[in-house]
Every structure is written in C-alpha cells, then in structure tokens.
C-alpha cells in the first residue's frame, strides 16, 4: 500500500508550491492555508482502514483458514505460515492484509491454486475484493486531470 504520509506530503507540496501562488483573493488563500494545516495534522493522525480494507482482511482470514484445511502436508513451509496467520494474525489492520495477501500470492505462485477447491477459494476472494473495491471508487477526474 502507498505510504499515507507520502500522499499527504505530496498533496501539501503541490498545494503550497503550485496552487497557492496562483490565488488572488484573501478568502481563497485563507481557506487554502486552513486546508494545508488540516493536511499537515491529518498526517500522522490517520491510517489506512475503513470498510473496504476491513472487508478484505475478513476475506483473507477465512481464505487462510480454509487453505490450512486444504493443504495436505502440515510440515510444508507455506502451511506453517498459514497456520500461524490464522492462530495469531498481526494486530495492525494493514499488516494483517499485507501478510494475508503475501500468503495468497505464494499459494498462487506455488501452484496450489491452479485447480480444485483452493483455486475456487482464491478466485472467490479475488473477485469479491475486486468488485467491492471497484464499487468503492469515486468517479475518476482523469479527464479533468489530463486537460487541466
């Protein structure tokens, strides 16, 4: 996930260096300074979260639990990591999601999800997550961004 601090510092920099100098009215300048102060203080006081990420974390939890049951050899390194993830998931939401995603990547890369029940589970997670996140996107401003 992109570092949230970096997004804030990027927004602050462009607003301060490129947008502020073009403002002429005192009202707009005052409001932009307030936005800048807000962004500077949201930085460090906010973290990735919300229902989309919580939803993905929950899906990864169940996927990992089911994968533990499906994987044959309990001594397999991946099976060991999956069991540890199920038994003691990272407490920070972003860590939990990143660890879960890494496990799915390794299931796929290891060929465990090429066919059968595990393939269906992985595809169900990928599909549901993609659908939920796509629904959560706001209409893009790409046209305005490109045209200025």
């Amino acid at each position: 996930m992109l570092d949230l601090d970096r997004i804030f510092s990027g927004m602050i920099r462009v607003l301060e260096d490129r947008v502020l100098p073009e403002l002429t009215s005192g009202y707009a300048r005052g409001q932009l300074h307030a936005v800048l102060e807000l962004l500077e203080n949201l930085q460090g006081r906010t973290v990735w979260g919300g229902p989309l990420l919580e939803g993905e974390a929950a899906m990864l939890d169940s996927l990992a639990a089911e994968a533990v049951a499906e994987l044959g050899d309990p001594q397999d390194a991946l099976a060991v990591r999956l069991r540890s993830f199920v038994a003691d998931p990272p407490s920070l939401l972003t860590d939990r999601v990143q660890t879960g995603r890494a496990l799915v990547c390794d299931l796929v890369a290891g060929g465990h999800a090429d066919a059968g029940a595990l393939a269906a589970m992985v595809d169900a997670y990928l599909t549901n997550d993609a659908v939920m996140k796509a629904l959560g996107l706001k209409t893009s401003r790409l046209a305005e961004i490109s045209q200025g």
């Binding site: 996930m1 992109l2 970096r6 462009v14 992985v122 990928l126 993609a130 996107l137 209409t139």
Partner: protein, 347 residues
Amino acid sequence: MDFQAQLQTFLARVTGDPAASIEELRRHTQGFSMETMSFVGNWREAGALQKRRLVLRRQPEAGLLEPYDLRPQVAAMRALQGVMQVPPLLWFEEDCAVLGAPFYVMGFVEGDVPLPMVAPGAELPIPDADTREALAGDLAENLVALHRFDWRGAALEIFAAPSGLRQAAQMQIDVWRGYYERSRPGPLPMLERAFRELDRRARAIAEHGQVSIVHGDFRTGNFLRKDAHVMAVLDWELVHLGDPMEDLAWACSRLWRGQTDLAGLLVPRARFLELYRQAGGGEIDVARVAFYDLLGAVKMAAIMLTGIRAFADARTDDVRMAIFAHQVDGLNMVIAESLGLVPSLNN
C-alpha cells in the same frame, strides 16, 4: 542560460544558421510520461527563410515508463515515414548536456487528440457515428500498414527480435513482470494470479507466424485526427517487435471503452477487428487476442505501479501519479474480466 536560450543554441547548430531563433515556446502538461513542448523555429536554409511550428519531446526525470530509452521510438518513427501516418521526425539529441535530458524534435501536425474517456451521461468525444466509423477504418488501415511493414529491411537493429509468436508473448510477459516486480508496493494477489495465467496461455501459443513492429500503445488518445482522418499516430515509447494481435487487443481493450461497448469510444470491438481484416490485416487469432487483452490489463497495472513507485520514492512531485494507487482497484476488475472471473460487461 535559460531553457529557451539553450533550445535556440541547439536550433542554430542543427540548422547551421547561427541566427536561428525560436518563439511561442509552450509547455504542454497533458501527457503522463514524456515532456512535451511546442514552439516556432525560424532559420535560414539554402537561402530561404524557414518558419516552422515544431514539437519537442523530452525524456522525463521520472514517470510511468522509466527507465527511458528514446532510441527505439526514434528509430521506428524514422523507419515508418511514408509507411503510415507518423509525425515528421527532424532531430534527435541524446546528449543530456544540451537540454538536461535526451529529446527529439518533430514537425507540428495539425489535429486534435480525442481522449478515451467519457464522463457518465456525457457525449462521446466524437459524437457523430459516421465520423467514428470512418476514423476507425483509417486507424485500422494505419495499423495494418504498420504490421505489414517489412522491418527486416529497415535499420532497426536496436529492436530485440523474437524468434516467433510464442517467444514474443513470453518476452512481453518478462517485460511487464519486470516493471511489476521493480515497482509493486507489496504483494498483489490479482497480478500474481494474472501472471500465472499469462504463463499458462503463452505456452499454448504456436511459435510460427508473422512477427511485426508493434506500436505498443495504439489506441484512442494517441493519435491526432482531423475530421475522420488520422493525421499522425503518436506516443511510440512502447514500440517493439512482436505479435500484431497485441496492438489489436490493446486498441480494443476494456480500458479505453468507458462505460460503452465501443473500442476506443469509436466502434464496437468486433467491428474494429473486422475493419482490420478488411484493410488486409489477415485473420484474427481469438486466443492470442485474449492473451494480449489480459496482458494489456496487467501492463496497465504495471505502468500505474511504476508511476506510484516514482511518487512513493519522491522522484516526482506530480500528484497525478498518486491517484493510480486507488485506480489500480478499478483495474483489478478489468483483470478479473480478462481472467473470466466476472462476466464481461460488454465485448
């Protein structure tokens, strides 16, 4: 010395006229990759005064397609003058000392660039259906001309030539897996799943078949048109030797259809394939188009990840790169559709 003065010095050198001058220098910021500027150059050539509008494209410091190498696109544009609609390429300068980074200068081509985006409920960029049909036809003809061009006779040693179509597919997988692996901000299961599927499908592609010059970014948004005529195909950064089905799949990708069923917001996908065939492009291989459709979605994700990484590492302050961090979410749906995980909304 400021930029304008540096550019004037360059113009004086390449035209051989020490009094060469430039005016109306403007920076255009629409692009997400190469820096683009336009200006009017004045110089004396064989006794006659030249006054010509020119376009300069310079390698950016950081961006979507880094690391940059301008040589392949310059070689392709040079080789294709007269073969299809490409901008006239005048000068190429590799020395960073001249303008800070390598660049080339092209003649200005008139026309507008329709973008492959349409706001919900808004009018299409080209509202008239007949114009769209004719333009799609002209585009297909340009594409066929490109794909039928005999590159073996041209000075294109800079291009890595695949031995056949299977190797071409595998080379493209390698290219984009490279971008993905260099830039991903963490594990991305959908991309891992897509690469596994691409490997599987690439193995099924027959090696024999025609290897062509592939534009690599052939789509609405990358050509200039006047009415229903293509004036110039632009943005040759991704040109390479490969499977012509790659350009076809990219031109028809879900990425450039908005919420419509029109490839590049022009004509239905099947119609564009038909126009390509009518123009002499030969038979369409459905499986290879499907392979490159999936590769295209993955490639778009890899391009976005490269921009995100440039922003994350603070090598660019362009916040437009940061929006890709959430747009990759939307792209996962396109990949899911290409993988057959969700039904195709429009085809």
